[in-house]
């Protein structure tokens, strides 16, 4: 590392979403001299080439960018891109209904959500988060759904009893009540003259 300026330039290129032109760098670092900046950039370029690390600083169309060295591309392609299975709001809602209202039928879930839930229930079944508990003994014998063991595992729950209840979540917003407030007589203690030495800074 040549200088503080080199490090600053490096941090800018590192965080940029695309290649950063010399002009843009000079604009961002207007307290520095353009000559110093171009000199630092050239120095960084040489440093990275000499270093032979996993990536280097290259000048591509439009600017400077860190790029991995082609020699290592076969290793980089081993990365498996894991798309974290994000839950859609409707899947989350449906799962919540099954979790909190089980045993529940599809009709009951749909009644609560006001929309068709067949597709979502099917995908929850495929993900093994929801399971079929049995059939309800009413005309049509609809399937009854409940949550699975995997559901407990994913949410790190010991058992269904450990599901936080609605009441507990609502209680987080509740302002505690202090009935004592009215009874507490502070006045007799406050007869001291308040002599300007209040605890204010």
């Amino acid at each position: 590392m040549n200088s503080e300026l080199s490090a600053i330039i490096e941090s800018l290129i590192f965080t940029a979403e695309a290649a950063l032109s010399t002009d843009r760098i000079c604009e961002l670092l207007n307290e520095f001299d353009r000559n110093d900046i171009t000199y630092a950039l050239a120095g960084l370029h040489t440093d990275y080439q000499g270093r032979g690390g996993g990536f280097e600083l290259v000048e591509v169309a439009g600017g400077w960018q860190f790029r991995t060295r082609p020699a290592f591309h076969s290793y980089i392609s081993r990365h498996i891109k894991t798309r974290t299975a994000k839950f859609s709001q409707s899947a989350l809602e449906t799962l919540a209904i099954v979790a909190y209202r089980q045993p529940v039928t599809r009709v009951e879930v749909e009644h609560l959500r006001g929309v068709d839930c067949g597709g979502i229930l099917k995908s929850l079944l495929e993900k093994h988060l929801v399971r079929i508990l049995g059939k309800k003994d009413i005309p049509g014998r609809p399937l009854i759904y409940g949550t699975s063991k995997e559901f407990l595992e994913i949410f790190g729950l010991k058992d269904l009893k450990s599901l936080p209840t609605l009441r507990e979540i609502q209680a987080l917003d509740a302002v505690p009540q202090y009935e004592r407030q009215e009874e507490l007589q502070l006045e007799p203690e406050l007869s001291f003259p308040v002599e300007g030495q209040l605890p204010l800074e």
Partner: protein, 262 residues
Amino acid sequence: MQHHHDEHLPLLDGFHEQYSVHLDKFDGPMDLLLHLIKKNELDICDISIAVITRQYLDFIKLMKELNLEVAGDFLVMAATLLQIKSRQLLPLDDHEEDAAEEADPRTELVRRLLEYQQYKEAGMVIGARALLGREVFERTAAEPLLAAAQSVEGPLEVSLFELVDAFRLLLQRIPAESFHDVAPDDPLSIADCINEILSLLQERETVQFDDLTRGEFTRERVIVTFLALLELCRLKLIRIFQGSEHGSIWFVPAVAADPSEV
């Protein structure tokens, strides 16, 4: 501000705004107490309750005069301080004198203050760290090679809080009559009890009625458990039997756990 109170400025003369800013600064009674102790240069382990109590109450009075809402927590602490003070004033009996050392009414308060001080400082240390996205940044540029990389579905990323919150929002949206048991002060719901029974049946083959009411044998609990069992029985999810007259009530799952067998 330091010089202001050194000059003994009259309290409420047009300084409401400045003061209220400082009043907001205290994150509760413990924070205020610590401030008073520091300001009076007292040793936490040997605080003068008389001095601290007076200043604490002055402070609450000021808050009231400024029409600031005094949180209940501050009043609870005021009561605690007054109680400690009154216990200190009570003359000790002869036989109590020996134990006076340990029975210092301040002990519990001092312990809480020391502990609180630790976490307050820990909070400042954590807060002074360089935060990702504020002082420290990761690389955001997309790696072109990764676009071609194999893409697999990773583990589910959803928190328990999000699940409950989704349910809470849903219930806010739908009319109350769609729901029979959401009364917030309903301490025991049949649905919760059904969940509990289903959970137990996932773990073992047979469950006894007594297992469900163990540890919480109240009339309400028994009734709710019984109603839950009846509901499960009606849904044909369990079968109930009784060994003998007045004997234990047992139940077993009536359906296979494996959906493929249904």
